[in-house]
């Protein structure tokens, strides 16, 4: 009996190490009464450390809502979300902020850089909300990693779209997160800049980062090793080509 319990716990612990994300029957409902929309409907998903997962789907399929839940920007209406073993669906705002800060790096379609700040100040931002020394050095390292070592003092409006998105990736990287969550990262970029950005993401995955990429573009999804598809809030696995 006792041996079994220990074994079960060990087993779960082993699972926890490998499994970064486990969504169990997660739903997100907007509105009430007749106007109810199941943006995410009974989704179960597991992501392991080092995975490169693409979530595909047309607009309105619920993939953005799923991304917000995965990124701890929003909480599910029902179901359980375990992030690196921690039950995120029961966390308060303060704890969620801490998870986002320590564990998750965001890359947005709109870049969301602060226009009044230089590249390295933008990259430094997440470090301001944790105790970190050498923030400037860490920001420089992250910018070097995305090939922008010579652009650290530039403001966003002095950079091309591709460069801005690379600054945003550096900002996601700088905290050494457990997972990088990229929401249509190439949506506002031309094909050349898109390729650069995807190359960087692939490189990060190769060096051990877990990446979740949300896109409607099959070509973009193609860089991922695993693709899931959202349709009407439901999730279906697809074997990558």
């Amino acid at each position: 009996m006792a041996v079994e319990a220990v074994a079960a716990r060990l087993g779960r612990a082993a699972d926890v190490v490998a499994e970064i994300i486990r969504l169990s029957e997660v739903s997100k409902v907007y509105g009430s009464g007749d106007a109810t929309v199941n943006a995410v409907d009974d989704v179960t998903l597991s992501v392991r450390e080092g995975d490169f997962l693409a979530v595909m789907g047309p607009s309105g399929s619920g993939k953005s809502t799923l991304m917000h839940i995965l990124g701890c920007l929003d909480v599910p209406t029902s179901g359980e979300y375990r992030f690196a073993g921690e039950d995120v669906s029961r966390m308060n705002e303060r704890e969620l902020a801490s998870i986002r800060n320590r564990r998750i790096g965001f890359v947005f379609q709109q870049f969301h850089l602060l226009s009044s700040m230089s590249a390295w100040r933008n990259v430094e931002l997440p470090l301001l909300y944790r105790s970190a020394r050498d923030r400037r050095q860490m920001a420089m390292n992250a910018l070097t990693q995305v090939g922008l070592a010579t652009r650290v003092q530039h403001r966003p409006n002095q950079l091309s779209g591709g460069q801005q998105q690379r600054v945003a990736i550096a900002r996601a990287l700088v905290t050494d997160p457990t997972m990088i969550l990229a929401d249509e990262p190439t949506g506002n970029l031309d094909s050349k800049a898109s390729r650069e950005v995807l190359d960087i993401l692939r490189g990060l995955n190769a060096s051990g980062h877990t990446i979740i990429l949300i896109t409607h573009d099959p070509n973009v999804a193609g860089v991922a090793e695993r693709v899931v598809e959202m349709a009407d809030g439901r999730l279906a696995e697809r074997i990558a080509a």
Binding site: H68, L73, D74, A97, N101, M117
Partner: protein, 405 residues
């Protein structure tokens, strides 16, 4: 996030939005400066009227012949001199008029004064020693003439400072008035200035001498009688006593047909005071409106930038900022703008308080109360409208804030 880093972030936020920061600061600055300046001007003019009232003497009455009720100080033009030395003696009676402290008869005429080097036409008044008290004046040098000198028809004169300066004479010198030599025995202190006459350009001589040498006329007749009540609070009863006494001695039954008029300089002054009060209210209203306009300007700038700031708030939340971090940041930003604007506004107001009297010739008296009110209101508006929208945005879900448009 520790305080120092929050402060750093807040300052960076201000520097990153220079135009907005400058406009907000200016709004507060002008609001505060306008209030300080306008209230200062109002206070100064009220003070000046008050000091003029005090200079006129709040316990003084003037009795002039004639029945005009609106009260010409010189008496009804061409009306017979109905006031006599008997009236003066009667009013000086402590039993009949216990609230009258001093009485002085006045006769006056324009005359040319001649000194060694120059001559100067001025107002020569003949009176008694009571003149000083009943005019609320003092002697700055020398002495005033005595009752004895009045009885002796002494050839002595007391001059106003302007008159003495024009004639180039001082105490002990001789001046000729109406062809007779007078010795200058005293100089009057500079007057507070009255509304109608220059109190510093005149010569006062004993009434007996004046009647002999300058004004002519019956020695029994006087042009005006000046009274001073025992204090400002007894002026009403002094007025009643004088009226009763004169009605009696002049054998007049109904007060309406009185052949004399009693006026008080304070009636003039109170009119002036009410004008000043109106002026102060007007200026204070202008100041309040400028403060309001400044406040609305600050509010506008803050609210216009809310969308932009909302996205920033959303991003910062996504990157791990807690609502408390954000609230602190915006509090520091708003407090800095309000503080800088307030301090600069006070400086500008004080500077205007120095420059306006210098260049525009308008006195400005700066008192602490409007300064404090102006700073509190202007800085308060800056704080509230700097923090409140941000605090609301900080409570939004990060995604809602990020998507704000």
């Amino acid at each position: 996030m520790n305080l120092l880093r929050t402060f750093d972030t807040g300052m960076r936020g201000l520097l990153g939005h220079r135009l907005r920061s400058i406009l907000t600061t200016l709004g507060i600055l002008f609001g505060v400066a306008a209030v300080i300046c306008t209230v200062g001007i109002g206070t100064a003019s009220a003070d000046s009227v008050n000091s003029r009232i005090a200079a006129l003497g709040t316990n003084l009455l003037t009795i002039s012949p004639g029945s005009t009720t609106s009260g010409g100080v010189r008496g009804g033009g061409g009306s017979a001199n109905t006031l006599t030395m008997q009236d003066v003696v009667g009013l000086a009676d402590k039993q009949d008029a216990p609230d009258v402290a001093a009485v002085a008869p006045v006769v006056q005429a324009q005359a040319t004064l001649v000194s060694l080097g120059s001559n100067w036409a001025t107002n020569v008044q003949g009176s008694s020693p009571g003149w000083l008290v009943t005019n609320a004046r003092t002697v700055s040098a020398g002495v005033f003439f005595t009752q004895q000198q009045v009885q002796q028809h002494a050839q002595v004169a007391v001059l106003g400072v302007t008159t003495a300066a024009q004639l180039g004479v001082t105490i002990g010198d001789q001046v000729t008035i109406g062809g007779s030599p007078f010795q200058v025995i005293g100089l009057l202190s500079a007057s507070g200035g009255s509304a109608f006459t220059n109190g510093d350009d005149l010569a006062v001589v004993p009434i007996t001498t004046a009647q002999d040498q300058v004004t002519g006329g019956s020695p029994n007749s006087v042009q005006r009688i000046l009274l001073s009540a025992t204090s400002g609070s007894t002026i009403g009863s002094a007025y009643d006593e004088a009226t009763q006494l004169l009605l009696q001695t002049h054998h007049i039954v109904t007060p309406a047909s009185a052949d004399f008029t009693i006026t008080s300089p304070t009636t003039l002054a109170s009119t002036a005071a009410s004008v000043t009060t109106t002026l102060t209210i007007l200026l204070a209203s202008v100041a309040a409106i400028s403060l309001l306009v400044g406040g609305i300007g600050v509010m506008n700038i803050m609210l216009v930038s809310v969308t932009e700031r909302t996205q920033e708030i959303g991003l910062r939340k996504a990157l791990g900022a807690t609502p408390r971090d954000l609230l602190r940041q915006f509090l520091i930003e708003a407090a800095t703008l309000s503080f800088v604007g307030g301090v600069l506004g006070v400086c500008a107001g004080l500077l205007a308080g120095i420059l306006v009297p210098h260049f525009a010739g308008i006195a400005v008296t700066i008192t602490p109360t409007p300064v404090i009110i102006a700073v509190v209101v202007a800085a308060g508006v800056g704080l509230i409208f700097g923090v409140y929208p941000a605090a609301r945005a900080a409570r939004l879900a990060p995604i809602a804030a990020l998507r704000a448009e």
